[in-house]
């Protein structure tokens, strides 16, 4: 989904405004994985005033074909159901709108069978063509969707032509509304299509409603669909149009078929308040104005004590890292491998966890976090700080290259302003000083940071990744595959060995695929030292005592359809 931009603070805004002007105790009872202990029998009714989802500003989009980050996808998750779903308890792919699916031996053809009787909230049937319409729409370059990379990952035949504007529909996609089947013919074998189909961007759309509300069949203009009341097939419906910078209000979908858990939403109404400032939104919770809030890092330990038993702080499938521009002559390439290894061993991750995050995150022992099928602890060789060994590696690098670390041009420690990245950058600079490598911290404006890093303008760069769907592939491919250069592979990393392992893993299943993905991770992290994983994300959602059964999935989405209020 989502190269993480992080949660900014008011300080960021103040700095931003200044720039514009210039230009013109630990918890006794914390939650189990991902959520709260639930209590009692669900109660139907009531309103939840949510201040956590949009605690830091409004989403860029809520249309499932346009929503590219966690915040943007949150509303769509509640409005739309896809072919499959990731069970938040087990992480496994479970049937959703598609009740069964098959594939050929080499994973190049997949057939999804669509349940009969599933409807959009306006009564229109959800058909195979509803998915085909949405997939063709998202890939259409006129829509300029940032999340088109998800359906493009499937490599359905004809994808390149649609994305180039040469065709309007995917030649490899057959929607048979009579037989209620959706057939996908792929260019390359992909063994995890069912998992990828759970992603929001693969949701169906009611073509009739989209075109009626936007008054056009021109895909370019249907981008305005999200400005009105979108019709979906999920547990909630839009109670009113998106009030920008104020709220998004949803209501229970009375016609919902029940989804994989077999129940409708319990809440009558769900009000997402869009806040401009994280601390202010948390203040609203402390003041009794809100039912839920996102806990600012500085207040995390205090919140665990004050609201013991009412914090959803399970692990999230996300990684926070600092990585190298592999095309940079000073730090990239094989010649500088030992320099990168030395830097990796010099970083004090524990200091970041305590000083920056107030223990609200987990120390990363690898790139792929626990919870991803195939995860193996101890894979990463540089997880523990070892300054002696780091200095030895640096010395070996100096001998091999004839360079002197002390006389290097300072290495740029690039980061986007906000969310404690500045504190981490300071820690890193201190670590590099200890190592004997000169460095300079280079803050960047958040809105343009990743744009610049994608262009290769960074040197040693802050980044992060939250999984789009539960898959080892999604942890590695976007960030490290050659195909991701210009996109999420901000490291400009290109390795034939890594790419081949990804291709191999994609044609495998189960333990074989997992083993191959681990080899690929080993290549990127240990052999080439592209990025330095620093910490894994955890949830930080606090909720009022009247709120029951708060569950946050490893993909960071709160399951609002499972919440009830007393």
């Amino acid at each position: 989904m989502r190269r993480m931009r992080g949660r900014a603070s008011l300080a960021v805004l103040i700095v931003c405004v200044a720039l514009v002007a210039a230009a013109c105790s630990s918890s006794k009872k914390t939650s189990t994985a991902g959520g709260s202990g639930s209590a009692g029998t669900p109660v139907v009714g009531g309103t939840l005033n949510d201040y956590q989802q949009y605690a830091q500003g409004e989403p860029d989009h809520i249309d499932p074909d346009l929503a590219a980050d966690v915040n943007s996808s949150a509303t769509g998750q509640l409005l739309f159901d896809g072919l499959t779903e990731n069970d938040y308890k087990t992480g496994k792919v479970v049937p959703q709108v598609s009740d069964r699916w098959t594939h050929n031996d080499n994973f190049t053809q997949w057939v999804f069978h669509i349940r009969s009787g599933v409807t959009f909230s306006n009564g229109d049937a959800v058909l195979p063509s509803s998915f085909a319409y949405a997939w063709n729409r998202i890939l259409n370059p006129a829509l300029a969707s940032e999340v088109a990379y998800i359906p493009a990952t499937l490599g359905i035949k004809g994808t390149a032509d649609v994305q180039a504007g040469k065709a309007a529909t995917l030649s490899g996609l057959t929607a048979d509304d009579g037989a209620m089947t959706l057939t996908l013919n792929l260019d390359k074998p992909i063994s995890f299509v069912d998992g990828l189909a759970a992603h929001l961007s693969m949701s169906p759309l009611d073509q009739k409603d989209v075109e009626a509300k936007t008054g056009t069949t021109d895909v370019t203009k249907t981008a305005k669909y999200e400005q009105g009341i979108m019709i979906g097939n999920g547990p909630f419906i839009m109670a009113e149009a998106w009030k920008h910078n104020v709220s998004i209000t949803l209501a229970r979908n009375p016609t919902y078929w029940g989804g994989y858990e077999g129940h409708k939403a319990y809440l009558d109404k769900l009000v997402f308040t869009i806040s401009k400032d994280l601390d202010s939104a948390y203040g609203a919770f402390q003041g009794g104005q809100a039912d839920t809030a996102y806990i600012p890092a500085a207040k995390y330990q205090e919140a665990l004590t004050t609201y013991a038993g009412h914090v959803a702080n399970g692990p999230i499938l996300g990684i926070y890292d600092w990585g190298f521009n592999m095309k940079d002559p000073e730090v990239g390439g094989p010649a500088n491998l030992k320099l990168r290894q030395a830097i990796a061993l010099s970083i004090d991750r524990d200091a970041m966890i305590t000083r920056t995050y107030n223990n609200s995150r987990l120390k990363a022992l690898g790139w792929t976090p626990p919870g991803v099928p195939g995860y193996q602890t101890g894979l990463y060789q540089f997880a523990e700080r070892d300054l002696t060994k780091a200095k030895q590696l640096l010395s070996e690098w100096e001998q091999a290259t004839g360079k002197k670390a002390a006389s290097l041009k300072p290495i740029q420690v690039n980061f986007n302003i906000g969310s404690g990245h500045d504190i981490n950058a300071g820690i890193i600079k201190g670590n590099l000083d200890e190592l004997g490598v000169p460095s300079v911290v280079v803050p960047h404006e958040s809105k343009t940071y990743f744009k610049d890093m994608r262009k290769g303008l960074g040197q040693f760069m802050r980044s992060g990744w939250i999984a789009d769907y539960t898959s080892y592939d999604n942890q590695l491919y976007p960030s490290f595959d050659t195909a991701g250069i210009g996109g999420d592979n901000i490291y400009q990393y290109s390795s034939a060995e890594f790419d081949a392992l990804i291709d191999k893993a994609r044609a495998q299943t189960g333990a074989d695929a997992e083993a191959t993905y681990r080899q690929a991770e080993d290549v990127a992290l240990n052999k080439d030292v592209v990025a330095i994983p620093l910490n894994w994300y955890k949830g930080a959602v606090v909720y009022a005592t009247r709120v029951q059964n708060v569950v946050q999935s490893p993909l960071q989405f709160v399951k609002y359809d499972s919440i009830w209020v007393k």
Binding site: R3, L13, I14, T220, H244, A284, R454
Partner: protein, 332 residues
């Protein structure tokens, strides 16, 4: 006077054109809007880039785009936001009333508290009240606005909830609430959502108004006509309010007038802390994300508001000082 007003009103045109031209030029040189339009998080394919360029007319020469923008501006069409997928007119319809209401109430509080404090301090010069005014205004000016905002939130929003006080004692921490108004008058419990954002926004200006009122009042109180008024046997209140305050008001009114125009568009911090959906934070956000149509559209409105409010301030001088006449050469 009619001619004067017309001439001043016509000044809006060059001021607006100048501001729009400056901002338009600034956005031309600050970068490529295609990535902003496409979302800014991922690389944009050549095909998508071409589609966006065509859709927004970015392939046309800048002077043609400028001409088109001015043409649309004249028709009241401010274009579409690059980021939000909705028209700037829609954004304006939502944000402008909220900003205006907050600014009006900030100004009302500024007038009530600032002028009253200034007059009391002047009349009771060197008294405890004078010292209190000096100390408190200095303190308010010194405290950063966001700190004051968070302080209000804690004392009147969070603390009463922690102490389980009744709803009468609790104020909402943030948000615009039900958004129920009659023009700018809050209806129902809307005032609870308005009070502290307005106080916060008014804080610095109130302190400045209080100090300026004090100093101008002290000047005026030395004037001959004040002694004459006292000799006539007028009561102290009548002397102060009718002769003193009225004559001391011209610089204060100028300051307040300028404040109103500024507060509409510059309440970024207050809007952020209290989550008030106004124009200031909208412009700041748009400027950072290079959303040129939003910055241009909303700034244009602010420029017009600024000119109009200044005109009204100038016209008000005649009320405070009847010797002032408008109309060029005939002015005395």
């Amino acid at each position: 006077m009619g001619g004067y007003i017309l001439r001043r009103a016509l000044l809006v045109i060059p001021v607006v054109v100048g501001a729009v031209t400056l901002l338009f030029a600034a956005f031309l040189v600050t970068g490529d809007p295609v990535e902003t339009i496409a979302g800014g998080q991922r690389a944009v394919s050549a095909t998508t880039r071409a589609q966006i360029i065509h859709k927004y007319g970015l392939d046309e020469p800048s002077y043609v785009r400028y001409g088109r923008y001015i043409g649309r501006l004249v028709r009241g069409d401010l274009g579409d936001s690059y980021k939000q997928g909705r028209s700037v007119n829609d954004i304006l319809r939502q944000d402008a009333p909220a900003s205006l209401r907050l600014a009006i109430w900030a100004i009302i509080l500024e007038i009530l508290i600032g002028i009253a404090a200034g007059v009391i301090a002047a009349v009771r010069r060197y008294s405890f009240l004078d010292a209190l005014t000096t100390v408190s205004t200095t303190m308010v000016v010194a405290i950063p606005v966001f700190v004051l905002g968070y302080l209000f939130q804690y004392v009147f929003g969070i603390l009463p909830n922690k102490q389980n006080l009744g709803s009468w004692a609790r104020f909402p921490v943030q948000g615009i609430g039900p958004n129920h108004w009659f023009l700018f008058i809050p209806l129902g419990n809307q005032w609870k959502f308005l009070l502290f954002p307005a106080l916060t926004l008014a804080s610095v200006s109130t302190a400045v108004v209080a100090r300026m009122t004090r100093s101008t009042m002290l000047e005026v109180m030395k004037a001959d006509y004040m002694r004459t008024a006292a000799a006539k046997g007028l009561t102290k209140n009548a002397i102060i309010l009718k002769h003193g305050l009225k004559n001391a008001m011209i610089p204060v009114v100028t300051l307040i007038g300028l404040d109103l125009a500024t507060l509409i568009g510059s309440a970024v911090i207050t809007e952020t802390v209290f989550n008030w959906p106004g124009m200031g934070s909208e412009i700041a956000r748009a400027a950072v994300s290079l959303d040129a149509p939003v910055v241009l559209g909303l700034t244009t409105l602010l420029v017009v508001a600024y000119v109009v409010i200044n005109l009204l301030v100038d016209l008000s001088y005649a009320f405070f000082d009847p010797r002032i006449r408008y109309g060029g050469a005939e002015a005395r």
